[in-house]
Amino acid sequence: MPDDEVMRESSSLAAALAALPLEDPAPGGFARIEATLAKRRTRTRVVHGLALAASLAAIAVIPFALLSDRAPSDVENAPIAATSAPSAPTTQGALIEQNELLEAWVRAQDEPFDGATAYASAELEDLIGMLDVELAATRDVESQDALWRQRLGLLSELASVRSQGVTRLATNDAALVPAAYRID
């Protein structure tokens, strides 16, 4: 068969296959998606809840651990809440200030209007909450700096998600679907 005939036949077969009618999936597909998402949310909350409980337990233990490291005479005179924060270095102060600024900006935004954005926001907020717990339990300045930086990174992501929205999909719907798959 000459080449141009092969090409013509191939393209006609491709066009014929692509023009086959669309198949219908079983009904209730979206309800199953919603159920899966609901399960995922519950699972995430359980995992975060366990981590939170572990962190809180660690916080509760810290004062006793601090006290037990001291000499008996120190213990008698030691303040129970030996938690006066070390004077924050300028860098940490700047980090905290940036955190606060971004947080205020995020709070000023409207609630997410679509599921994907709300879902992503909730995930990021959970992670930020976990960092807050870790920050409350951390005394070491370097570790605190690292946590504040992580927090700033997560807040930046959250700000980006909230400002742009995760879902940019519903626009120009029909144009996204090639003719072969167009839904009529």
Binding site: S12, L13, A19, L20, E23, P25, L169, V177, I183
Partner: protein
Amino acid sequence: MRAYEQVYRLFERPVFTLAYRLLGDRDEAQEILHDAMLAVLDRIGQFRGDSPFWGWLRQIATNEALMRLRKRKLDYVEELPEPEAALAHLPVSFESRDLEKAMEQLPQTTRSVIWLYYVEGYKHDEIAESFGKSLSFSKTQVLRGTQKLRELLGTTKEHYAYA
């Protein structure tokens, strides 16, 4: 959830159809639809707005289907086409239901290769890689599958003509 549901409703039939054509099994196609739509949520950060959304989603669904195909025992046309028959042309016109029936009669792997090659625009080396087979596997499956379709469509046309 409203925007995501709109996206789901808009693309559920194309995604299901693509998966069904590649896998030939409605239950598995349903699972691909489910997994691909969840993957959209999980990977939405990777979507670049400068390319069509359908192309991105189609790639996700195709990859999910190919993963399943790779786990299957391959089932394809092994006999060589007759030299005479290889020159037979595709019938000039045929009904889409005839083509669907002819496709259904192809072995599943051959059908998947034909679909990837003609409709999804995969090249032979991409098909070969997808199935973990040689380049000649893809070429011969396209050749033999096309030949089989020609035969089946010719038979079908004749059958309908005399029905």
